[in-house]
Subunit: 137 residues, 2 copies
């Protein structure tokens, strides 16, 4: 299977490697700790329930691992975890740390227009912390 | 453990029984096929990754079962599955069938103001179809 990351996902995120058969991206928006897990699946498999038993379990385990990292490292008040994909149809799961101080609170981050690029050194800090905690390929 | 459904969740939905240790509600908004799974967990357990291994697996299985039902019965173009809970903190997972004809498309349903109550006979139709397909308690 030839997997290609959707160009819109690739353009908006920092590539953090692979976990549980998914690409892990940090969305380039420093307003929220916002990760995307992109399962390497065949084109056309867009909804979670379409995954095989094994793949579903594997992807959900990766969601949990990344969620635990976001909770421990960023210490948000709440996590928002979602598989939406109405616009970019390639399956991707959002894992976002939320806080009552963030500018989109209590609304969701989808549809929120604010954006702030990361400083490169901050991206590397987060990458190091992630690699320290999770087994990424 | 004494589990009590949050009054805001209870007020906005039709009780469809229990599956995988979760309450299943149909949100009373006929604009979208919109279900809520509310895991029966202790108060204060608000994020999915805080569930034990077993409970996480069980809840994710219920998410999949309900998603498969929504896909088969309502035949939406896309499912939106999300655990948000910024406002009602009791853990609940949204499973929503989406279509490019629905009034919130391609945005999300969260924050969308439109609402249309179900006719009681339509609720009973959906309930019968669900019970026909899934083992609900």
């Amino acid at each position: 299977m030839k997997f290609q990351l959707h160009p819109r996902l690739a353009a908006g995120g920092h590539d953090f490697g692979r976990i549980g058969g998914c690409r892990l991206l940090l969305k380039d928006n420093a307003i929220f700790p916002w990760f995307l897990l992109v399962p390497e699946v065949e084109e056309g498999v867009e909804d979670l329930h379409e995954l095989s038993d094994n793949r579903y379990g594997e992807v959900m385990e990766a969601v949990r691992d990344v969620s635990q990292f976001v909770a421990a490292y960023f210490q948000p008040e709440k996590l928002n975890v979602a598989c939406i994909g109405n616009q970019v149809r390639q399956m991707h799961i959002h894992i976002v740390g939320r806080s009552s101080e963030d500018p989109a609170w209590p609304g969701t981050v989808w549809g929120f227009e604010g954006k702030k690029a990361y400083l490169p050194e901050r991206v590397e800090e987060i990458r190091a912390a992630l690699h320290n905690r999770l087994r990424l390929l």
